[in-house]
């Protein structure tokens, strides 16, 4: 499904990685590991198409992602360092606009359900500026539930979350994978998902 072929990434004067290969099939989890500055975030941005690789290519269903941009983006959800939550909008408005702009009309109940799933049911109408950093990240994560994407690309999804939320996110990941989804993620914490052995891609090597 998703393949990286002979990828190279150069930032400034440094070659972050070179000759990098990976592949991801339905139901698989790929953990990207490496020291700070080894290019984890760059790899994720490259895979989702925010950045062009210096060399090599990323394939989705056997085609270059640049060539199938629309269908690729429709099936992919990205969660980056910044949660993409507007302070001046409420949790509901944030998710509602985000989904509509992504071309997925959602009802108020669906949004409520997704927020409830992440333990934020009571925050529906609160402006995001009154939410804590961890709560904002959970609002952003609930977007993943609404987007119903096959491929999740998550950059440090577990930072700034408390124990309960950590468990919750891991169980969401497990559910997503069991339904045939795919996930590519970077994290500093260990990821424990029963029944799933993650593939590891180590950039420091």
């Amino acid at each position: 499904m998703l393949e990286g072929k002979d990828l190279a990434c150069v930032r400034g004067e440094r070659t972050l990685f070179n000759h990098l290969n990976f592949s991801l099939q339905e139901g698989e989890l790929l953990l990207v590991q490496g020291a700070n500055g080894s290019g984890k975030t760059s790899l994720l941005r490259l895979v989702c198409g925010l950045m062009a690789p210096e060399f090599g290519e990323v394939l989705w269903r056997g085609e270059k992602i640049g060539a199938v941009r629309e269908s690729y983006h429709a099936e992919m959800a990205y969660f980056g360092h910044a949660p993409a939550v507007k302070e001046d909008l409420s949790a509901f408005e944030n998710l509602d606009f985000a989904c509509r702009l992504a071309g997925i009309p959602v009802s108020r109940d669906e949004v409520k359900g997704a927020l409830g799933h992440l333990g934020l049911g009571h925050c529906l109408n609160l402006p995001a500026k009154s939410l804590s950093q961890g709560q904002r990240r959970r609002v952003a994560l609930s977007r993943l539930l609404l987007a119903k994407a096959r491929l999740w690309i998550l950059d440090e999804p577990l930072t700034a979350l408390d124990q309960a939320a950590l468990k919750l996110v891991q169980s969401l990941l497990g559910e997503h994978l069991r339904q045939g989804g795919m996930a590519l993620l970077t994290t500093h914490q260990p990821v424990m998902i029963p029944g799933i052995a993650p593939k590891i891609l180590d950039l420091s090597a």
């Binding site: 941005r45 989702c48 429709a74 990205y78 909008l89 606009f97 509509r100 992504a102 071309g103």
Partner: protein
């Protein structure tokens, strides 16, 4: 989901955000009024001179005010990650970029057009010239948002971005200034404003067709 829908959703979101940050919109408007009011204090109250200068002064003030508001166009979306998410939607970037530029014009261009007649009266413009002033702003201010978007996109996240954007964008604004102020001049002197206005319209069409592509490229460059 079709493209007009995307643009409409984006517009609704941008207007809602602007409503919740009314202060920013009003700041630009006051800036416009203050800059235009400084000129008589600088050159003296001679009505003949002011009538002669009126169109040009209002236009220069509009240019500066439009430039001041450019920072808001992409900066907050860039900072909080919304811009990345927009790029990763299936919608072609030029579509939502057009929506963004339209929203910017509605929020920072239209208020200028509404206030401009008051400033024109202060400078003693004739009724006909006031009409032409409003019409020229109606054709010209969208161009300011369109061209300005390129500068705003290129300077995303740079230190000193605000000053830099003026250096990049103001030279490109010159044709709009010339034809806009020229139209008011033409109306005042009785030479007619049609030629100026149609050239301004031509520039608007050209900018509308070309700038979304340039902005799309610029955002890609800045976000990498």
């Amino acid at each position: 989901m079709n493209m007009t829908q995307t643009v409409m959703v984006l517009l609704r979101r941008e207007l809602m955000l602007a409503m919740r940050r009314r202060g920013d919109v009003l700041t630009v408007l006051f800036f416009f009024v203050i800059v235009a009011s400084l000129f008589p204090l600088g050159v003296g109250p001679d009505p003949k001179l002011l009538r002669l200068m009126g169109g040009g002064v209002v236009w220069v003030s509009a240019l500066l005010a439009a430039m001041l508001s450019l920072g808001r166009m992409f900066a907050s979306d860039y900072a909080d990650g919304t811009l990345e998410q927009l790029i990763l939607t299936p919608t072609p970037p030029v579509v939502w970029i057009t929506g963004k530029m339209l929203a910017h014009w509605l929020v920072s261009g239209v208020p200028l057009i509404l206030v401009a007649p008051v400033l024109g009266v202060q400078f003693g413009l004739s009724n006909e010239a006031l009409g032409v002033l409003v019409f020229s702003l109606l054709l010209g201010t969208p161009v300011l948002s369109l061209i300005g978007a390129i500068g705003a996109a290129l300077t995303l996240g740079l230190r000193g971005g605000g000053v830099l954007v003026s250096l990049l964008v103001l030279p490109l604004y010159i044709p709009v200034l010339i034809f806009g102020a020229g139209a008011v001049d033409g109306a005042m002197s009785g030479l007619g404003a049609e030629a100026h206005l149609s050239l301004l319209g031509g520039i608007l069409i050209l900018a509308f067709m070309l700038t979304p592509w340039a902005v799309s490229a610029a955002l890609r460059i800045s976000i990498e």
